[in-house]
Amino acid sequence: MSYSGAVPTARSRAMVRETRHLLFSVAPGAVWIFIFLVLPSAYLMGVAFMTNGPYGLPQMPLSLDAFERLAGVGFLGWSPGNLYTLLRSLWQTLVSTVLVVIVAYPVAYYITTCREKWRPILLLLVVVPSWTNQVIRAFGWMNLLAPGTPLSSLAESLGLVAPNMGLYPSNFAVTLGLVYNFLPFMVLPLYAAFEKLDTAQVQAAQDLYASPVRAFWHAVFPQTLPGLLAGTVLVAIPAFGMYVIPELLGGGKGMMLGNLVANQFAGSSNWPLGAAGAILMLIATFIGLFAMRRIGKRLGGGEEVVI
């Protein structure tokens, strides 16, 4: 072949045109991501490795001070306060996710058994509360759980809480708030999984000698796992970083990682520490997502579970 690359052929010109076209179509999105995701993340990363200044603002030199503080090393030696906050966040996330699953699973199943014309309405009822601002809903729970309210009095008379303590503020109130807040995010993917399910398969399982309970475990449950997994990601990750609910319903004792981070940028003013907390949150999220993906791949038999 005596093809000279320098000669612009019709084909190479078309390729240049196509490349240019591609660049133009991708550019706006790339710029947007760069300005609103890459730059702030890089800035946060930088701040985390700087030293705390007099007014809580970051200054040079670079150091690991913020991460040491996060691990509990302070002026007065080591204290477990931050570690407790981290553990509390993980625990709250775990408990509320499990509770959300327990509540959402039967709800989603129930909706699929209803008449087709009712289903959109029932789904709407599940979603409607989330149209109200989170803060307002948290205030609502305050009014329901505060000392002296019927629910609190009942809990007190049953000996579940100390007299005059009420159900709010407490870790319990935070869990309740989280479950309430994230319920729709579990119901919707589970509903989608249930709706895809062919009821003939349940009958086939029973026909093939599976009792109703075994038909559920062997034919139904495995098929809802992708939905369960998607719901878990949608619930656990935002719950882990939740700020509003523990702030309003938890009081001082119910603080979660999100509140710790927020406090460093506002009240206590230690930007590097706040940034370090945010990075910790990011890492935990990535680990969680990665684990979910692995599980999802195994469940789907190589089939990608869309999250």
């Binding site: 009958q203 086939a204 029973q206 026909d207 093939l208 062997h218």
Partner: protein, 374 residues
């Protein structure tokens, strides 16, 4: 003639073939007795309105009827997926009316196949055995055996969503057969397949049934399919059984107008008067042999002969060709006689096929005439 041919592939219809090399044919087959089965859905949908039916052990039995006739409900009652409002069901001498589906030795091939998408083909096949508590090693060899028997070949390690319709159908059949049930139920298992594959699988299914000697209850709305496959057919309409009989009985001697129409007959004529064996209809006067005493005369189009021109004779009708449909192996004619029309099917033996407008003589054989009730 071709339409009346049934697939009595065994040399002696009704007799079970001897045990084949695998020794599978000696499978215990069970008879089924249904008595007074009633089922209604909601307040006023009557699905079954008193069904009495006996199915013999080892029989290929077909429930035939239009949609909504109750055939699928009847099958689901056999499977235990539906509970009858009244009546009893006895399989193999045991009353199982109240037995839940997972305790019945009855397996079903579902219309949608209902394969488990989260399991491989092998796991699908082993499902019933696993639920019965068979050890894994034994399950494995059973699955290999059935895969060999149904000729699944290398499909066994595939995932269900990688299979074509015909392959899924085979897997669904194998998944039900592997449990060696007393009765196998098939709910329109071939309806989702295209015509070519369908007739291929019809033959395959029939061979499997003959080899195993298992009782098969097959549901279809396709009368051709029913005639090809069945030892006996029950025609259902409106939740009641219209007629039970061998394919030739049902096709050639339908008991009423519904069965006749459903089996594809159009030549039905009210009998206005009869003098001993002479019947008067809109076609004219015809002599019948053993026609019975029904009010309707049935003339099957393939029993008629056409002669060119007007010929006088007994049971000869003069007609004009109104329409001719040439179908290669045979031709269908719509003939105008007096004020009515008559359908005739003539095999193409290379002789003259009358043209539209031609005058012909229809020869009706007295022994082929049947009467039936409304």
């Amino acid at each position: 003639m071709s339409e009346t041919m049934t697939a009595e592939t065994a040399d002696h219809p009704g007799a079970r073939p001897a045990a084949n090399a695998r020794g599978r044919a000696n499978h215990k087959a069970s008879s089924i007795e249904m008595q007074g089965l009633h089922k209604r859905f909601g307040r006023d949908t009557v699905a079954l309105d008193g069904v009495d039916l006996n199915i013999r052990a080892g029989e290929f039995f077909t429930l035939l009827g239009p949609s909504g006739c109750g055939k699928t409900t009847l099958l689901r009652i056999l499977a235990g997926l539906e509970e009858p409002d009244a009546g009893s069901l006895v399989v193999g001498g045991k009353d199982i009316t109240e037995t839940p589906p997972h305790q019945r030795s009855v397996n079903t091939v579902f219309q949608s196949y209902a394969l488990f998408p989260h399991l491989s083909v092998r796991e699908n096949l082993a499902f019933g055995l696993k639920m019965r508590g068979m050890p894994a090693a034994e399950r494995h060899s059973k699955v290999d055996e059935i895969a060999d028997f149904i000729k699944l070949g290398d499909l066994i390690d595939r995932h269900v969503d990688q299979l074509s319709g015909g392959q899924r159908q085979r897997i669904a059949l194998a998944r039900a057969l592997i449990c060696e049930p007393d009765v196998l139920l098939l709910d329109e298992p071939l309806s989702a397949l295209d015509a070519g594959l369908r007739s291929q699988l019809q033959v395959e299914l029939l061979r499997v049934q003959k080899r195993l000697g298992m009782t098969f209850v097959f549901v279809t709305h396709d009368q051709q399919e029913a005639m090809v496959m069945s030892d006996r057919i029950a025609v259902l309409n409106g939740g009641t059984i219209q007629q039970v009989g061998a394919p030739r009985d049902v096709y050639e001697r339908p008991v009423n107008a519904f069965v006749a129409h459903f089996m594809g007959h159009d030549n039905l004529y009210p009998i206005s008067a009869r003098k001993s064996d002479r019947l008067i209809t809109a076609l004219g006067e015809l002599t019948a042999e053993e026609a019975g005493d029904g009010e309707l005369l049935l003339i099957r189009p393939e029993t008629l002969d056409l002669l060119p021109g007007a010929v006088e004779g007994p049971n000869h009708l003069t007609a004009t060709v109104a329409e001719r449909l040439y179908r290669g192996s045979h031709a269908e004619f719509r003939l105008a006689i007096a004020d009515t029309t008559l359908q005739a099917t003539v095999n193409n033996r290379g002789r003259h096929l009358p043209e539209v407008g031609e005058t012909v003589t229809v020869v009706v054989a007295p022994e082929d005439l049947v009467t039936l009730s409304e």
